[in-house]
């Protein structure tokens, strides 16, 4: 396969007043794994979308093997040999694997009739070559996320991609799957394919990169060797020294606050999302629920708040049965909630910071009075919260949607913590949040624990779990496969996230350490 030398020169893109990419220069050498490291919102995806023809640069050029090329659309990019695996997969869920792979370059017999046999054969051939096990006739919506990602990779390879862009490919994978992905990437590299690997996870970068380019606020701020330490990389990425470890004393757990017994949730497709879960969270401790996305954690959190109906089981808070109570009752009983998708469920984007800070309290004194709102009280509250939670906004009248992800999340946390809480449920509290805000949010949640609140955190990030948890409950296919201490090795957690029991995980993890686990 022909190798490609790819050069981006002075690429610039702005959206309104925001300069997402500011004169970015980048060289991708043939057959290299090139890591683009940067925080959420640093401009990595914008850059790659320009390379893939989904966005048009305002200035700058793209050179392939020294020659300037114009990429106006994804088909131009594909024709040049550029393939991309998007963070949110670009697969049609109701199509089969083979249909997805041939979409856009269909095999046909006479008069445009699809040749499914040929497409199936191609899928089988490519998946055998790379050791994937993919059934060409399976519907994409029925296969696991990890396999969907392989379908995306096969799709790019079927188009003879010489440069493969992987946008945050590990977010949806278990550690074991990440290991397999790394093996695939190395195999591709040996065949001469260049890989652009976009991530904000330092461990992964160190494990696989040949070259590292760091992007911050739309600019290339430097490059690093894979031998650099995590602290050095983090400092380059954030722009200042970062404390990767949250200061926290050992927990002093009190009485059981939340008790969940036999909780079962059936999702809207009729599948078991949460399968007979028993959990206890005590005052003054953080219980982290670990697991790969889609194993029932989201539904568990929603069921605790009464946002999802439950099929069986009991939920009690401080001994009071909450099963079947409304969400408002549960909030009044002292549950705080940080939803997984903050923009969708956490706040009203077009409302101001001040309004969002009292969203759940507007009907009560001092903010509500009869049918009207006390705007002076709301404003006063907003000033205090903005101060206390270091919310970076020019004014409390600004719409929350105009804030950065980190500051939006601070608004949500500030609102939830302004009520007296017995239990805080936080689902993916730092997803899409910059490192500075992550530090703040983590510290604040630990402080809440130290105040005696029971804290339940749902996270797919093992780093976050290691930083916060006092105990870890691992979920797989809706079941809790085990509750283990916070210092359980990463590889063991990873295996449990794939369904292994605690004892199995211990044995396998010692015998077969993964690439990321050994860094």
């Amino acid at each position: 396969m022909a190798r490609m030398h790819l050069e981006l020169s002075g690429l610039t893109k702005s959206f309104g007043s925001l300069v997402a990419n500011d004169h970015i220069d980048l060289v991708i050498e043939p057959g290299q794994i090139h890591c683009l490291l940067g925080e959420n919102g640093a401009g990595k995806s914008t850059l790659m979308n320009m390379l893939y023809g989904l966005l048009q640069p305002d200035a700058g050029e793209i050179l392939i093997d020294g020659e300037k090329v114009a990429i106006h659309s994804p088909s131009d990019a594909i024709a040049q040999g550029i393939g991309m695996v998007h963070q949110h997969f670009m697969l049609v869920p109701v199509f089969t694997v083979a249909e997805n792979i041939m979409l856009g370059r269909e095999y046909t017999r006479a008069v445009g009739v699809l040749d499914r046999k040929k497409a199936d054969a191609l899928v089988t051939e490519l998946s055998e070559r790379y050791g994937f096990e993919v059934d060409p006739e399976a519907l994409v919506e029925d296969i696991p996320v990890g396999v969907q990602q392989r379908v995306e990779i096969i799709k790019a390879l079927a188009n003879n991609a010489r440069v493969l862009i992987l946008d945050e490919p590990t977010a949806v994978l278990t550690p074991a799957e990440i290991d397999e992905l790394i093996a695939v990437m190395r195999q591709l590299k040996e065949n001469g394919t260049s890989i652009v690997f976009i991530t904000h996870k330092l461990k992964e970068v160190k494990a696989i990169a040949d070259t590292i380019t760091v992007i911050r606020r739309g600019k290339v701020v430097g490059s690093a060797e894979p031998s650099a330490t995590e602290e050095e990389l983090a400092e380059l990425m954030v722009g200042r020294a970062v404390d990767l470890v949250v200061d926290k004393d050992p927990a002093t757990p009190g009485d059981t606050v939340l008790r969940v017994e036999g909780l079962t949730v059936i999702d809207e497709r009729g599948f078991t999302a949460v399968d007979g879960v028993d959990l206890e969270v005590r005052a003054g401790e953080i219980l982290a629920v670990a697991g790969v996305q889609g194993n029932g954690q989201t539904e568990l959190a929603e069921a605790l708040l009464g946002l999802t109906p439950i099929a069986a089981g009991r939920i009690s808070l401080d001994g009071n049965d909450l099963t079947g109570r409304t969400t408002r009752d549960r909030l009044d009983a002292g549950i705080g909630y940080i939803p997984e998708d903050r923009a969708h469920d956490g706040f009203v984007g077009s409302f101001s910071v001040a309004e969002n800070l009292v969203l759940d309290m507007a009907r009560r004194a001092p903010f509500g009075k009869g049918l009207s709102l006390r705007t002076d009280e709301i404003e006063k509250n907003a000033q205090e919260r903005v101060e206390e939670f270091d919310i970076r906004t020019q004014s409390t009248d600004l719409a929350v949607s105009s804030l950065s992800g980190g500051n939006q999340q601070k608004v949500v946390l500030a609102r939830e913590l302004s009520r007296p809480l017995k239990l805080l449920v936080a689902s993916q509290p730092t997803r899409g949040v910059d490192v500075g805000s992550i530090e703040f949010l983590h510290t604040r949640m630990v402080k809440e624990r130290d105040n005696g609140t029971a804290v339940l955190i749902v996270s797919t990030e093992l780093d976050e779990i290691a930083a916060l948890a006092d105990r870890v409950a691992v979920m797989y296919r809706g079941k809790v496969v085990g509750v283990v201490p916070a210092d359980t090795p990463r590889d063991e957690l990873g295996l449990m996230m794939a369904g292994a029991s605690k004892s199995e995980a211990e044995v396998v993890a010692t015998e077969n350490p993964t690439t990321l686990g050994t860094i």
Partner: protein
């Protein structure tokens, strides 16, 4: 990659039969009680059936021969009980979820059967007429629903089918009257259907106008312009402008000789045959060809289609314009296929009923056809019953199919799933 790493599988397993999701339970009880109501009405009708024999006439016009008689009350009772069993089995979860559609169909057939026995007891019911009329009412509905399937599979909601019907009907009448050529009339109707479709396409795909509002506006526009032209020209000179030739029936050899169904299905006009062909062609094209795959991809996940180099908007334009051909032909049926002249707003909401057929048929061409036939059957039944005189007002009966649609759309036949990007304009930065 180590040998022992397990591949995690985040696919969820179906809930065990013992546990039912609360939403499913509510739905089952709600739908089930409605089914029970229908079943009990059927049984009640059977109890009140009297008059000895119900006679069904198998060849239209022939009142002496080809009659088929059954003991009215006994037959109605058997069907009524069967219906109750079907509804009961659904409510009590005695059959797997996936068979619930068959139960509903069985109940429907039983209900109609016992109803017919009740209505025809002691009388003669023209069964051949009933089926003939069903096809007449259903033909434009099928064409309209197919047009809807094409549009919505590509992600464009088409509320304007009614408007396309009207201009199609108008054009066919005028062109047939002035040229005397039925072929020209059909082609012209198809073309004006495409023109209406072009308006829908440009405003929804290019200018991102809300598709529901746009569709309603187009219907009002079509009604206005055909009404104006009718007043200005057709009424002035009806003899030359509004006397289209009605298409003549063409009997297909062999097939047309099949007893009972032969004359009904295969002694029809060219437009009806075109409709049969359209169902087959749309089904094949949508599911077996490159164009169909692309149409469905832009209706489900336009961005995914874009990232593999498919021109989303272009595919949507092509689907909406082809749908215009079908809707225009459906409109032509009202004048040159059936009535023989154009009158104001003569399509009388059939375009919206076609839309209901599309939804009840779950965005599937065959399903839409079955739903359209069902609606046609009910409409024809209502007029037949007026002729043989039953105690129930026909207008009440006419509501039944739409009631059934609401039940079906509410999720009787499993969950209804529209194309994911239906009605969402595709915007690129």
């Amino acid at each position: 990659m180590s040998e022992t790493t397990t591949t995690p599988d985040t696919v969820r397993v179906p809930a065990p039969a013992a546990i039912e999701a609360p939403a499913d339970r509510t739905r089952r009880l709600r739908v089930g009680s409605l089914m029970l109501v229908f079943a009990l009405i059927g049984l009640l009708l059977a109890i009140f059936t009297n008059g000895g024999k119900a006679t069904f006439q198998l060849v239209s016009g022939d009142l002496q021969n080809n009659l088929f008689g059954v003991p009215a009350q006994a037959t109605a009772l058997i069907l009524g009980i069967l219906g109750v069993i079907a509804a009961g089995a659904y409510v009590l979860r005695r059959v797997p979820q996936s068979y619930s559609g068959y139960l509903a169909t069985l109940l429907g057939i039983c209900f109609i059967g016992s109803f017919l026995c009740w209505a025809a007891a002691g009388k003669t019911f023209p069964l051949a007429n009933q089926f003939q009329g069903t096809l007449n009412f259903a033909t434009p509905l099928i064409l309209g629903a197919l047009a809807g399937v094409l549009c919505e599979r590509a992600g464009v909601i088409n509320i304007a089918i009614e408007g396309q019907f009207l201009v199609g009907a108008f054009t066919a009448a005028v062109v047939s009257s002035t040229t005397g050529s039925s072929a020209a009339a059909l082609i012209a109707a198809a073309l004006t259907g495409v023109l209406m479709a072009a308006l829908l396409a440009v405003f929804s795909i290019k200018y991102l106008v809300n598709q529901v509002v746009l569709g309603v506006v187009l219907v009002v526009f079509a009604s206005g312009i055909t009404g104006y032209l009718f007043d200005q020209f057709l009424q002035e000179d009806a003899a030359n402008m509004n006397t289209p030739d009605v298409l003549s029936a063409v009997k297909i050899p062999l097939l047309g000789d099949i007893p009972f169904f032969g004359p009904i299905l295969f002694n029809q006009t060219i437009l009806v045959y075109l409709t049969y062909i359209a169902v087959a062609v749309v089904t094949f094209v949508l599911f077996e060809t490159r164009w169909g795959l692309r149409v469905r991809s832009v209706g489900e996940h336009p961005k995914a289609a874009d990232t593999v180099g498919i021109r989303v908007k272009r595919v949507r334009y092509s689907a909406v314009l082809w749908a215009g051909v079908l809707a225009g032909l459906g409109g032509a049926f009202f004048t040159v296929g059936y009535a023989g002249s154009f009158s104001k707003d003569m399509t009388a909401g059939n375009g919206f009923i076609a839309l209901a057929a599309l939804i009840m048929g779950r965005w599937n061409p065959i399903g839409a056809m079955v739903a359209a036939l069902f609606f046609g059957f009910a409409t024809q039944l209502q007029s037949q019953l007026q002729i043989i005189q039953t105690p129930i007002p026909g207008e009440l009966l006419l509501m039944a199919p739409y009631l059934a649609t609401i039940i079906a759309v509410a999720g009787l036949v499993g969950r209804v799933r529209a194309p994911k990007a239906d009605g969402e304009p595709y915007v690129t930065e």
